[in-house]
């Protein structure tokens, strides 16, 4: 398998005069969030030539579409175009027609170009302007192989997003999930991976064995997941390059619900012994002795590390119903943090550290919500018959989860931003569940 070539940063981060520029003229929605109106006309090309990825002029339009789609994922932006906007000429890339774009209501403007280099690579130029100040805010150039042209678009969107929102980037990242086919009574579940927007999809396992709950390792080299290949739930680490997998721990008991520690050195998992499920930790290198972290007759599962690795959030039904608890990484200091009605399940600690995402079950619905690690400020983001299993974008601003349809049992990977304002379905070739977002790519 090939590894993703690193993107060559040509122009560096030239924030130029932007450092002193004030962002003005933004709109404010009901929730008090600013939303930037960003015009994104098709990227241009100095010379429309054929490449393995298509004509450079076509690529210019597609790159603009990806940027627009990416920026529409959060409530920070109101992207306009590329549909309905005129194309631009090459000289406009560095000298935009500001008055014209201002007349269209744009506060910010994305310009750029796609150029075929003589060595077979593509150069994607990416510029962001403040329209009213007529100032340049971002100037980036990305050189990629033709197969990675979409990554250049995601990197451009990440630069724009970071510059305007002050947040860390997240578009250039990947998702591991479970691709589902077949009838409800005998679903075929395959491990699969894709880009954060659903593109570059690839099946990993062939569906002979039930596969569940994958998680990318922090370095994207392997995936920890549950397979029933030996007719019971067991946690395996799958090496993407070699296609080989190994058990994380040899045990006659069922193991499931795996998560990496933030540094990738350990795997947290659940093990059911004599019907009693507790949390355990074992070295991800294999061969180590598992360490038991909880010890009650209740079900403890769904463990997830805080980003600094010092704490673990998990669910337990020790109170009589599923609720969320936080403990130190060694199992000490267990404290309940959820106290609302119904059940709370599948807690996931945000990579920013500031929030716990969860599934709340009650009132005939399964909903995705967030609360602070102390249990304060609970907010429900979705409302559906069955939404479950949140996973965080690398910057902690967006959540993916999966939605099950009543009756048919069909599943879909969904996405919502952390304010709950922007919900969308992620397109997958077949049904999808158990999404797991990996880190931002280098």
């Amino acid at each position: 398998m090939r590894t993703l070539p690193s993107l060559l940063l040509l122009a560096g981060a030239l924030f130029a005069s932007a450092a002193s520029a004030q962002i003005t003229g933004t709109v404010t929605d009901e929730s008090g969030n600013q939303s930037f109106v960003v015009a994104i006309p098709p990227l241009t090309t100095p010379d429309d030539v054929a490449t393995p990825a298509g004509q450079t002029a076509d690529l210019g339009r597609k790159v603009a579409e990806i940027i627009s789609n990416d920026l529409n994922a959060t409530d920070v932006f109101t992207p306009k175009g590329p549909a309905g906007l005129r194309g631009i000429a090459m000289p406009e890339v560095t000298a935009p027609a500001f008055a014209e774009w201002e007349g269209l209501g744009a506060e910010n403007l994305v310009h750029g170009f796609v150029r075929a280099n003589t060595d077979g690579t593509l150069m994607v130029g990416c510029y962001l302007y403040d329209v009213s100040l007529k100032s340049e805010m971002v100037r980036q150039g990305y050189v990629v192989g033709p197969r990675d042209w979409r990554r250049a678009a995601h990197k451009c969107a990440d630069s724009i997003y970071s510059r305007l929102s002050g947040e860390n980037p997240f578009f250039d990242s990947r998702i591991a999930y479970i691709a589902e086919t077949g009838p409800k009574g005998n679903r075929v579940k395959r491990l699969a991976i894709m880009d954060s927007d659903g593109a570059n999809h690839r099946f990993i396992t062939n569906g002979q064995a039930l596969a569940l709950t994958p998680r990318f390792s922090p370095d994207y080299k392997s995936i920890v997941y549950v397979s029933y290949i030996e007719r019971r739930a067991r946690v395996y680490v799958y090496d993407i390059a070699s296609g080989r997998q190994r058990l994380v721990t040899e045990s006659p008991n069922q193991t499931f619900s795996p998560r990496w520690s933030p540094d990738g050195s350990s795997i947290l998992y659940s093990m059911s012994v004599g019907g009693n499920t507790d949390l355990y930790r074992v070295s991800s290198a294999g061969g180590g002795t598992p360490v038991r972290l909880t010890n009650t007759p209740a079900i403890e599962t769904g463990g997830s590390y805080s980003p600094d690795g010092s704490k673990i959030v998990f669910e337990s039904d020790r109170s009589g119903s599923q609720q969320i608890y936080v403990m130190n990484a060694d199992g000490s200091g267990q404290q309940r943090i959820s106290f609302g009605g119904g059940n709370y399940a599948t807690p996931e600690w945000s990579p920013r550290g500031n929030l716990i995402a969860f599934t709340r079950v009650g009132g005939g619905a399964f909903r995705i919500g967030v609360m602070s690690p102390a249990g304060n400020g609970e907010k429900l983001l979705t409302n559906s018959w069955q939404d479950e299993a949140p996973t965080w974008s690398p910057n902690g601003r967006v959540i993916q989860f999966f939605r099950t349809t009543q009756g048919s049992g069909k599943t879909a990977v969904m996405q919502v931003d952390v304010t709950g304002a922007k919900e969308r379905k992620i397109d997958t070739p077949v049904d999808g569940s158990d999404p797991a977002w990996g880190p931002i790519l280098p």
Binding site: P183, K184, G185, N186, R187, K189, L210, L212, T213, R231, R232, A233, Q254, F256, S257, S270, S272, G274, G275, N276, T277, I299, T301, G302, E315, D317, S321, Q322, A345, T346, T359, V361, F366, Q386, E388, A389, T404, Q406, G407, G409, D434
Partner: protein
């Protein structure tokens, strides 16, 4: 050795297919096991009734191969005890036969919790059989969580049928 395993597997699959239909009919109405008829092997012939000690014989000899649970519960009530007692009686007749108990949950739970819940249910059934004198070493358990529903709708009645622990003989 390899061939023998394959044969055993084919048998188990065929027999499980029979077991799958069994709950909807009286055990006496069971068709003869389709083992010989399928022509997969010439190893077993099914003359008039289930082969003694087989899964089909197990199904024909017991009240039911499964017990049911309330939402989020795993306790074995008196009715379940009576069902399991007939399983225990059969197991005492065939002391070399091993069983696997498959624990299941309905779709209205989160995935990991349902695996844990299915494990709890399978273990409850195992403990009940052990209390009736069946050597626990003969009983293995597996949980499928919500992954293998039997009733395919999304009603309370469907969910009740899916919250189950099913005893399957290991042939």
């Amino acid at each position: 050795m390899k061939r023998k395993n394959t044969t055993a597997l084919l048998l188990a699959v065929s027999l499980m297919a029979v077991a799958g239909c069994a709950k909807k009919q009286k055990p006496q109405d069971l068709p003869p096991p389709p083992i010989g008829a399928e022509g997969n092997t010439g190893a077993v012939t099914a003359p008039t009734g289930p082969t003694p000690g087989s899964q089909a014989d197990f199904i024909a000899s017991i009240t039911a191969d499964r017990i049911y649970f309330d939402t989020d519960k795993s306790d074995v009530d008196a009715e379940d005890q009576a069902t399991l007692a007939t399983q225990a009686e059969w197991l005492k007749k065939y002391p070399n036969t091993r069983v696997t108990i498959e624990g299941h949950a309905d779709e209205r739970g989160t995935r990991d919790y349902n695996i844990a819940l299915g494990a709890r249910r399978a273990n409850s059934a195992k403990n009940a059989l052990a209390a009736m004198g069946i050597d626990a070493a003969r009983i293995s358990t597996v949980s499928y969580g919500k992954e293998r529903p039997e009733a395919l709708g999304s009603t309370e009645a469907d969910w009740a049928r899916n919250r189950r622990a099913v005893t399957v003989t290991v042939q």
